[in-house]
């Protein structure tokens, strides 16, 4: 018995000593940087990036941080850079290669842009580029294609910039782009959502996309990362793809990409020599990795945590972005089918306070964020006006007759079920739910909050009254896709039963609108109509953030979250 006890004690002592020793260890002493890596055994779940779909939030899963610092390449990239504390880096040699450790919440299992949402990883890492892209005003900008025109209502002709080569060395011409898009059409089931393809015609540098139907949004849809221009003739498209971007892949294993500068980049100097790009799915883990020096740059930090980085050691870049916190209202349910109730609810929620205290975003006027060029300022939204909400309910005859504080409709208490995704990564959806619950109780509407792991099932089955959502409402810089998908009465994705013939007719007009101005005007009108009908609750915009170490320069959060690593990002010590 005594021997056992002594042995136990010795063991515990050894362990604590070892732990202490590990804490005090200087980075120089560590043979490999692995010791600092927060290596965890949690299964690296596959984020299929379904989260990125127009209707869903970039869900950060709770998987543990993956090892981010150890890679064979790094022996050449001076390990201090990745593991040392700031004061130790001052002694670094001047001609040290500029290496960046970056992480996002998704990387994926393949680098084939045509698979699922993997194109997003390619545009975010600067490997792939699309023919046209979106600038920070969410407007079209030339990229691999330098000009475009509509030949007729069905055919869009794009001119591929001359003198660009793929990372493989092959020149980029219309035929190569055609091959690439054909691969995308075969591989990705979303392809028909973007282009109703009849054929591609390649002629030198001119690519003509011919559509079966009138489809003017096709031009904007080409900004979707699915349409990354890649050399599909390379040997291993899944692991060593060849794009046209500022960085090319040197190696790829699941969720970890090693990149190096593309010295032949068509659009000027590239700011870094090498990049290690990894997936750290949990927002909190990214925060800690940035603090420990494991990462130099990351995106999507919870807005409360931003203040940890607002000092001279870090750069913080926050924009309001293209996402909106939407609370879907199910018009097919017994209570929310009444427009008056929906309007009253819209007046009863205090968006300003939610924005300032919960999400860090700006209060939403309509489904589109103010960053889009749809003249959002002149849209009439819902202000916080409890009296008005009460007035609307009273006028509609929805009053509390039994004195329990909850109003009734047809003798039944207004009881609404609010589904929110079980807290993963960010607690915001749950907090918004609780804030709305408290606000609605003030006007005599009872809300019950339910958490669900699998929101898509709940949504698809239409089982909710409210459900929280985080939507990119202008996924391709154009309003048609989201409006059609979510609100057209005949759309398969319209699960909330919104049905307004006037709205359907308005959406129809998109198909004849070929100029940006015309399309913006229709989107504007549609947004106003959705507001008038109180279609959903548009709560606040979702701020998007890029945080980097002070020595990383030009790491700016773009408005559109297709992009992250740009040629301008560099390291200056």
């Amino acid at each position: 018995m005594n021997i056992k006890k002594t042995l136990c004690l010795v063991l515990v002592l050894c362990l604590s000593l070892a732990a202490l020793a590990a804490c005090g260890r200087k980075p120089e002493e560590t043979a490999a940087p692995t010791t600092t890596a927060a290596e965890k055994t949690a299964a690296p779940e596959e984020t299929t990036a379904a989260a990125e779909k127009t209707t869903a939030a970039p869900e950060e899963t709770t998987a543990a941080p993956e090892e981010t610092t150890a890679a064979p390449e790094e022996t050449t990239a001076a390990p201090e850079e990745t593991t040392a504390a700031p004061e130790e880096t001052t002694a670094a040699p001047v001609e040290e290669p500029r290496h960046l450790n970056a992480a996002s919440f998704m990387v994926g299992t393949t680098l084939d842009a045509a698979v699922r949402y993997q194109g997003w990883t390619l545009t975010r890492t600067g490997i792939g580029e699309t023919l046209v892209k979106l600038d920070n005003n969410v407007e079209l900008e030339a990229c691999v294609a330098d000009s475009w025109e509509w030949v007729d209502e069905y055919s869009l002709k794009l001119h591929v910039r001359e003198g660009i080569t793929f990372h493989s060395g092959k020149a980029v011409d219309a035929a190569a782009v055609k091959l690439c898009f054909e691969h995308a059409a075969e591989t990705n089931e979303r392809f028909p959502n973007y282009i109703d393809l009849k054929e591609f015609i390649a002629d030198g540098q001119d690519l003509t996309i011919v559509s079966n139907s009138k489809n003017p949004q096709m031009l904007w849809n080409l900004t979707e990362p699915l349409f990354c221009v890649m050399d599909v003739t390379v040997e291993d498209i899944a692991n060593k793809p060849a794009g046209t971007g500022p960085y090319m892949v040197t190696s790829f294993v699941e969720d970890r990409i090693e990149l190096e500068a593309n010295r032949n980049y068509w659009n000027g100097e590239v700011g870094l020599d090498t990049i290690t790009f990894t997936r750290v799915s949990d927002a909190e883990a990214r925060v800690m990795a940035l603090q420990s020096g494991e990462l130099d740059m990351t995106i999507t930090i919870d807005h409360t945590n931003i203040k940890l980085f607002e000092n001279e050691d870090y750069n913080v870049s926050v924009v309001s972005g293209v996402r909106t916190n939407v609370v879907k209202m199910n018009h097919a349910r017994p209570f929310l089918k009444y427009k008056e109730l929906r309007q009253a609810i819209s007046y009863a929620i205090d968006r300003e306070t939610y924005g300032a205290n919960i999400t860090g975003g700006a209060p939403s006027v309509c489904l589109f964020p103010a960053s889009v060029p749809f003249d959002i300022d002149s849209i009439e939204g819902y202000s916080y006006d409890v009296d008005r909400a009460v007035q609307i309910l009273d006028d509609a005859g929805f009053v509390d007759t039994d004195g329990d504080g909850i109003r009734e409709i047809d003798g039944e208490n207004i009881h609404l079920e609010y589904y929110q995704s079980a807290a993963h990564g960010s607690a915001e959806a749950g907090l918004i739910a609780q804030a709305i619950q408290a606000d609605l109780l003030k006007i005599g509407v009872d809300v019950e909050i339910m958490s669900s792991e699998n929101m898509s099932d709940i949504k698809n089955a239409g089982l909710y009254d409210f459900c929280s959502d985080n939507s990119n409402t202008v996924p391709t810089g154009d309003g048609q896709y989201f409006l059609t998908n979510m609100y057209l009465s005949t759309s398969g994705s319209n699960k909330s039963g919104y049905n307004n013939p006037e709205f359907d007719a308005l959406i129809e007009r998109f198909n004849d609108a070929y100029s940006a101005e015309e399309r913006y005007a229709i989107a504007h009108e549609a947004a106003q109509l959705l507001n008038d009908d109180a279609a959903d609750l548009f709560v606040t915009t979702v701020p998007m953030s890029t945080v980097s170490r002070a020595y990383v320069k030009n790491a700016v959060q773009p408005t559109v979250d297709y992009y992250m690593i740009t040629k301008d990002i560099t390291i200056v010590r």
């Binding site: 940890l308 919960i358 408290a438 958490s451 792991e453």
Partner: protein, 290 residues
């Protein structure tokens, strides 16, 4: 307890040998029992002690660190963490308590029937129990709670589906050993009916161990329920449940650590109290020797 005296075990010998030790154990037990009872009374009447409304949002004092007004700080919506912890205690405890009573009743009944009758019924039941025991219980509970949908009742059902098995096992083996004792044969000889034998002669010999086991399970069950709440499968916001609170605090681990520390501490304390209670109850009943 009076019925215990019927047990022919060497109770008197034990008493003589360990009087000193027995007294110490008993004092320890009563001390812990007092703490536990105080805890339960406190938890059941938490609303009277809580300085604030646990679910009232007050954005003006969002994320305030512990201070004189809010001794455990406030959370993101400005709710007082201390009040939420207090009010969360009652829910956690009573759910665990109700569940254990239910589960131990079912488990004991099945176990005693199996142990007493034996035969085919026993074999089938015990193989079924074996199958259930093969499931990792937390994973099973997550799966079941996920299927049933979120809610405290569903979480309790999910946990209960597996936890009756250990009670059944225990009751069965105890019954099987008691069944062979002479006083049972005597009772049968005197013409006692089967229900009477089971209830009057076997049950009193099984009950103490079951009670000890159930008591020892309280802490673990509270913890399991909180885990399910943490995952969003049991208590739903804005209920002031400890698991929910820890889950909500995850994003503020660095900016507002008090949101995580205090509910965590409360959880640890509760589990420790009930585990100690279970341990000392076992010592008092000295079930080890039976």
């Amino acid at each position: 307890m009076a019925k215990l005296k019927q047990a022919p075990a060497g109770g008197e010998i034990r008493l003589k040998r360990g009087l000193q030790r027995g007294t110490v154990i008993r004092i320890k037990f009563y001390a812990i029992l007092t703490i536990a009872i105080l805890f339960v009374l406190f938890a059941m009447n938490a609303e009277h002690f809580a300085p604030y409304d646990p679910i009232a949002n007050d954005y003006a004092c969002s994320l305030q660190p512990p201070s004189a007004e809010h001794i455990c700080g406030t959370d993101k919506l400005g709710r007082d963490v201390y009040s939420r912890i207090l009010c969360g205690a009652g829910g956690s405890f009573s759910m665990a308590f109700v569940m254990l009573i239910f589960v131990s009743t079912i488990g004991t009944t099945i176990g005693m029937l199996c142990g007493y009758f034996g035969g085919r019924f026993d074999v089938i039941m015990m193989r079924f129990v074996d199958v259930l025991l093969a499931f990792p219980d937390t994973v099973f509970a997550i799966a079941v709670a996920g299927m049933l949908g979120p809610g405290v009742l569903n979480a309790v059902i999910a946990l209960g589906l597996l936890s009756w098995t250990s009670f059944a096992r225990m009751a069965r083996s105890l019954t099987a050993s008691v069944r062979e004792k002479d006083f049972i044969a005597q009772a049968r000889f005197n013409g006692a009916s089967t229900p009477r034998i089971i209830l009057k002669y076997i049950f009193p010999n099984v009950a103490p161990q079951i009670i000890v086991m159930a008591t020892m399970r309280i802490g673990g069950t509270i913890l399991s329920l909180s885990s399910l709440s943490f995952l969003g499968l049991a208590s739903q916001p804005p209920a002031p449940e400890w698991g929910v609170m820890v889950s909500e605090s995850k994003a503020y681990m660095q900016t507002a650590p008090w949101m995580m520390i205090y509910p965590g501490l409360a959880l640890v304390l509760t589990v420790v109290i009930f585990n100690l209670l279970g341990d000392s109850l076992r010592d008092v009943m000295d079930t080890k020797k039976q």
